[in-house]
């Protein structure tokens, strides 16, 4: 069932290019609705609405997700505020190569703040989100190379050393000054 050739020729993951869910999500919705048997006509309608209006937008600070026409929903969250990432794959998800990537922030809602569905290569999306969330990288890490920081630190410490030596010498001189001053008395 797995197709290694497809896996290898996958284009590199680019979150910014994701705007619409994969068509496999429609298949997923139809099958999942069909499994409710009698309720199928009722269940499929909101799912179809959801699929056809679902939009994602990944920018460099956060992700927004919107769906619905009559009952419109839009969620925006920043990557840094992600508390935990849950990836759930049921049997149908796995067969279709999908997953539900639930992203939670620290708000008090019982369910995930955002559940990103219908993304091909959900692991790559999860890794992308993980890399952006807090704590995944050293906090003081910047784009500037690490060496320049340590260089400046080194320079600062050498100048403080010099200052320290000077201060000690000044202290010694002052104490000498005092002893000289005290001598005549």
């Amino acid at each position: 069932m797995t197709n290694p050739e497809y896996e290898s020729c996958r284009p590199p993951f680019d979150a910014a290019s994701i705007e619409r869910p994969d068509p496999a999500l429609l298949t997923y919705y139809i099958i999942a609705s069909a499994m409710t048997l009698v309720a199928f006509p009722i269940v499929i309608i909101p799912n179809l609405f959801r699929y056809y209006t679902l939009k994602y937008k990944f920018d460099d600070k956060g992700v927004s997700m919107s769906w619905g026409i009559v009952f419109h929903r839009q969620t925006y969250l920043t990557y840094r505020r992600i508390q935990d990432i849950h990836v759930t794959r049921n049997l149908l998800h796995r067969w279709l190569g999908l997953a539900a990537v639930a992203v939670q922030t620290a708000s008090g809602s019982a369910t995930a703040e955002m559940t990103i569905e219908g993304i091909r290569n959900p692991e790559a999306l999860r890794d992308f989100l993980y890399a952006k969330m807090r704590g995944a990288r050293p906090e003081n890490e910047t784009d500037a190379p690490q060496t320049s920081q340590s260089d400046s630190e080194h320079a600062a410490s050498s100048s403080t050393d010099e200052v320290l030596t000077l201060l000690r010498e000044i202290r010694d001189e002052i104490s000498q000054l005092r002893t000289i001053g005290e001598k005549p008395q």
């Binding site: 939670q104 809602s109 906090e139 000077l166 000044i170 000289i180």
Partner: protein, 252 residues
């Protein structure tokens, strides 16, 4: 004979795994976590004791349920032998089949549970039909809970529960916290792991609520005062002045 049965059981189990991997796409490999060079990755499963702990419950429930079912069947047999005889295949099936399924499910549950820990984060995978993976960075962890019952103590295991901020109702597995938690079940070194996570928490300077990165001075006393060559030159002048003064006073 015993080893043959064991080998046969293992063969069947391996075949089942093959079916799960091939047709049900259960991942065979442990989950991975992206790390930076120099950071360690620890990938582990629950301890052996956890399997024995689950099996203890299995045998306990099996005993109670099967005694109940057998008694009911015998009662029917006594009241009406014809109906009892007719029901015997169904009764045997009801008594035996769930036990086998449950026993296999315990092994599958054990074999599909994975914990991955790096210096920065934690990933937990659990489940067979529905596979659930949680990723939590230690930076976001609010508290660490250790849970160990008497039976778990006997088997030398404990559950470690890592919680992040945010409330809500029951989680995906019935725990509180709205899924803001990672449950590391049935591990032998729970205390060491807790200490490791707590040490990581103590080092953290943030509250774990998505605070933005502030340029926090790492060595406040040294960095607070930026020394320039002018400072050094001024100090030299003071020293020179003092020396001259000392020299003059020394002549008296």
């Amino acid at each position: 004979m015993k080893t043959q049965t064991l080998a046969a059981a293992e063969w069947v189990y391996a075949g089942l795994w093959g079916v799960l991997v091939r047709w049900f796409r259960v991942p065979q490999e442990p989950p991975t976590l992206a790390v930076r060079p120099g950071e360690t990755v620890d990938s582990f499963r629950p301890a052996e004791g956890y399997l024995r702990y689950l099996k203890f419950w299995f045998w306990l429930v099996l005993l109670i349920v099967d005694i109940g079912l057998t008694t009911a069947w015998i009662a029917i047999f006594i009241v009406n032998p014809v109906v009892g005889a007719a029901l015997s295949p169904i009764a045997l099936f009801i008594i035996i089949a769930p036990d086998i399924i449950a026993y296999i499910a315990i092994h599958l549950r054990y074999d599909t549970t994975w914990y991955v820990m790096t210096d920065r984060s934690l990933r937990i995978r659990r489940g067979i039909i529905s596979i659930h993976e949680v990723t939590i960075t230690f930076e976001n962890v609010q508290n660490v809970m250790l849970r160990r019952g008497p039976l778990q103590r006997y088997y030398g295991i404990a559950d470690l529960i890592v919680q992040t901020a945010g409330g809500g109702g029951a989680g995906p597995h019935g725990e509180g916290g709205g899924g803001h938690l990672g449950v590391i079940e049935g591990i032998a070194n729970a205390d060491a792991l807790r200490d490791r996570i707590l040490a990581r928490l103590r080092d953290s300077k943030s509250a774990g609520l998505g605070d933005e990165a502030h340029p926090v001075p790492s060595h406040p006393p040294q960095h607070a005062m930026q020394l320039t060559p002018d400072h050094v030159a001024t100090l030299r002048q003071i020293l020179g002045g003092l020396r001259r003064l000392n020299g003059e006073r020394g002549h008296y």
